[in-house]
């Protein structure tokens, strides 16, 4: 499988102090990658780097094989942190907001047509918000706002979807609903997803790749899934390993453990081949990393 995001030797700092140092990782087409790490470890900075908002001080980022210089023309969709609550004071309807996601399709200085409107409606349907399309964004709940914001991103037909803490500030039910939608996108629409979250317990079961960005010794490294066991075991001594297993689509165990996710089994089954493939690649990747600099340090 082709690497849609490939980061090699990337370092970044606003001043001489590096926030991120020598980060290597890759995300393949069809991945559902979850980025975890403590607060202030540089997760949002990394997202900005992936989006081309910031330029790496050292190293390179390539998206779909092209060296990243600007995001124009790349098929990245981005859902920023707290995007819903930031939008809530803005006097616009859901439909207007989703239409703005069609910018690239409509083009500079042009007017949206009927098919664009249809596209926006489809996107709203995907997040189950079609009935609220004429409502003001400010009148919706946090979870609904977040879904509208997601619809806006989806309207642009992204190949890669980057989400920064999409589950922050919304209730548990909305989180499940959001993750369900993302899972559906990942499986059915083959959208590659990279999601920054601290809510690994909820997001983990949907992910097939977990990247840990942590401070201290492994600060400079983005570790592939093997390391997560360690990081995860700290906070959740019971279920960590199983979740990782689930992440690699050995779904039986994971879903046995967590009945709540049984609904997703069908999806997992249907994509098992895909999942297995990824799993294989992942192992190789983990292997690499362990032989790499970070691995040694960590050991």
């Amino acid at each position: 499988m082709e690497n849609v995001i490939e980061v090699t030797g990337m370092s970044f700092g606003y001043t001489r102090d590096m926030i991120l140092e020598d980060v290597d990782f890759a995300v393949e087409r069809g991945d559902f990658a979850v980025v975890i790490g403590d607060n202030g470890v540089g997760k949002s900075t990394m997202v900005k780097l992936l989006l081309g908002v910031l330029r790496p001080t050292k190293g390179s980022i390539s998206i779909c094989g092209k060296n990243l210089t600007s995001l124009r023309g790349t098929g990245i969709g981005y859902l920023p942190q707290n995007s819903g609550s930031k939008a809530s004071t803005f006097p616009a309807t859901c439909e207007e907001i989703v239409m703005s996601g069609l910018y690239k399709k409509i083009g500079f200085g042009r007017f949206p047509g009927k098919d664009h409107k249809k596209k926006a409606e489809e996107a709203l349907k995907m997040v189950d918000m079609l009935d609220k399309r004429k409502s003001l964004i400010g009148e919706l709940s946090g979870g609904q706002q977040q879904r509208v914001m997601l619809a806006r991103v989806l309207a642009g037909d992204p190949e890669i979807l980057i989400l920064d803490e999409p589950t922050v500030g919304i209730d548990a039910e909305s989180v499940d609903r959001l993750l369900h939608i993302l899972h559906h996108l990942n499986i059915d629409k083959k959208v590659t997803i990279l999601m920054v979250t601290h809510d690994v317990e909820k997001a983990g079961p949907y992910a097939n790749r977990v990247l840990c960005l942590s401070e201290g010794a492994c600060r400079e490294e983005l570790l592939p899934d093997a390391k997560i066991v360690h990081a995860h075991a700290h906070s959740h001594p019971h279920g960590g390993v199983e979740h990782i297993h689930c992440a690699n689509c050995e779904h039986g165990d994971a879903h046995g453990h967590d009945a709540e996710h049984c609904a997703e089994c069908a999806h997992c089954d249907s994509s098992c081949e895909h999942g297995d493939h990824v799993h294989h690649e992942d192992k190789e990747h983990a292997h690499h990393a362990q032989h790499g600099k970070g691995g040694e340090e960590n050991a």
Binding site: S83, P91, Y103, G109
Partner: protein
Amino acid sequence: MRNTEKEVRRMPEILQYTYMQRALFVGLLLSVIVACLGTVMVHKRLSLIGDALSHSSLAGVALGLLMGFNPIVGAMSVCIIAAFSIEVIRKKLGNHSELAVAIVMSTGIGLAGVMSGFVKSSADFNSFLFGSIVAISSFEARLVMILSVIVLLAFILLYKELFYISFDEQAASISGVPVGTVNAIFTILTAVTVSIAARTVGALIVSSLLVVPVAAAMSIARSYRTTVLWAAFVSVCSTIGGLVLSFYLGLKPGGTIVLISVAFFLIFRCIAFFRGRSTSSKGA
């Protein structure tokens, strides 16, 4: 008896005078474009940009008189520089972007104050800078007409981009909106509009109509599009209403226009309040 006769005779009177025709016409055009620009500026959290720019243009007039070039050219160029400074400072300040306006306004007032001390052959500074809506020259009327066409065209053509930038500047930039270009276009248009409008109808009218109608519109509008339309509506009604009241009751036009727009704001807030109560009671 005599009074009612007068009333009947007076009705079309307001349109019999060239200065009133001009005031109504220029007022109409300016209130529409100022409302459009205001919608953009309020959502960029630059509500007071009108005040900042008109005060800076005072510095421009002083500079023009000091250096010996046309004060209006000075006003316009200082306005544009000030507007770009606001853009630059706004970006640097992040969450405190509204400070950019205050900083530029203070600088403008300070510069104007200091420089006016050096201007010797100047006359009444303010009288040359700030116009009056009831005394608009034909040149100014034509200038406003051209400006209005440009601003309206830009606003309609870039409506989608403006919406996106106002809503989420970062996301807009990531989606490939030429944020810098669009911002620059509107920075220039706002600066030029403020300097021309200040010269034509007075600084008070411009800086208030940039904000108050938008605030009124935001209380009741059900979408971004209707926010713009309501803002334009409030702005136009205030201007026309203010002129009519000024004509018949002898009130100062600038102040009257501003107060009418504030009245609109209060009424709309009340409507929003009662509407909000009725929906919440329905919900409960």
